[in-house]
């Protein structure tokens, strides 16, 4: 059974090698001359006072939540795809209901600008 997963393992390996390779290569070959001014938070040329971090929009959080919800939805398709032929019309209908329920949510998010960065 495991042998059927060999291509996935290979793919995983290639992905890791490329990722590590690219990061490693830039670390080895790229010039690195940090100084205090470079590492400071950019504040229109004014020297920042107190604790300053980078700005981070709450919208990332919204994106992550939506991604997770639709990811769970996508996972539900997986067993259905495997069984599609055995489940016949019954399976098609139950999946249609599932998709309808979530599809209306998707359309609503779209309409309310949930996928837009700027309001």
């Amino acid at each position: 059974m495991l042998t059927s997963y060999f291509p996935i393992a290979l793919y995983f390996l290639v992905a890791v090698v490329i990722g590590v390779g690219v990061l490693g290569a830039s670390r080895v070959m790229g010039p690195r001359k940090p100084n205090a001014a470079k590492l400071q938070t950019y504040e229109c040329g004014v020297t920042p006072e107190g604790e300053v971090g980078p700005r981070f929009s709450v919208k990332f959080y919204l994106v992550a939540m939506l991604f997770m919800i639709f990811d769970v939805e996508a996972v539900s398709f997986y067993p259905w795809a495997v069984l599609m032929h055995q489940l016949r019309l019954f399976g098609l209908l139950e999946m249609a209901l599932f998709v309808l329920v979530l599809g209306i949510g998707y359309a609503y998010v779209w309409k309310r600008g949930g996928f837009q960065w700027q309001e």
């Binding site: 495991l2 709450v58 990332f60 919204l62 997986y78 489940l87 599932f98 949510g105 609503y108």
Partner: protein
């Protein structure tokens, strides 16, 4: 034979990942170690013939949930200068409690392992044949557990609408 090698490799990676979560100084490194740990767990699930769990572990946990974790970590750290903020996020008696619960868990697991009937457990694992496979899981999900499946769609829909209501910038659309 191959599966034994894969098991030891995955187990080692899982332990390294779990150790990384605890020991990394930077929270982002902790989160990334957790990805490693979850990926290794996915492989272990695969070895147990729990294919669907393996897929969920990789796609949802190592994928989506970790993205959320990383965003939250970044969000919480956005205002701090250095990540190793001298115990700012430490709870009272943290080490004591962690040690205590770890010990309890260890005793429980050790007790279960010592008392386990290995041969019959092994037989039970192999008896099902396709038990835990995606086809078997899907058959149960789409026939016997159809109602929970459709209710899951409603739960996800509630989550979508709730997120969009609470996460929207206040006042932007409510004028």
């Amino acid at each position: 034979m191959v599966s034994t090698v894969v098991f030891w490799l995955a187990a080692a990676v899982a332990i390294v990942g779990a150790g990384g979560v605890l020991l990394a100084k930077h929270p982002v490194h902790s989160a990334l170690s957790l990805v490693l740990n979850l990926a290794a767990l996915g492989v272990l699930f695969l070895l147990l013939h729990a294919e669907f769990l393996a897929v969920v572990e990789i796609l949802v946990y190592a994928g989506a949930v970790m993205v959320l974790f990383l965003f939250v970590v970044t969000l919480l750290m956005a205002g701090t200068k250095t990540p190793r903020d001298e115990g700012r996020f430490r709870l009272a008696y943290q080490y004591l409690l962690a040690g205590l619960f770890g010990l309890i868990l260890f005793v429980l697991v050790a007790h279960a392992l010592v008392g386990a009937d290995w041969m019959s457990s092994l037989a039970a694992t192999n008896a099902g044949g396709s038990f835990g496979s995606i086809a078997a899981f899907g058959t149960a999900l789409f026939t016997k557990y159809l109602l929970p499946f459709e209710l899951t769609a409603v739960v996800l829909l509630v989550a979508v609408i709730g997120v969009i209501f609470l996460g929207r910038e206040h006042g932007a659309t409510r004028k």
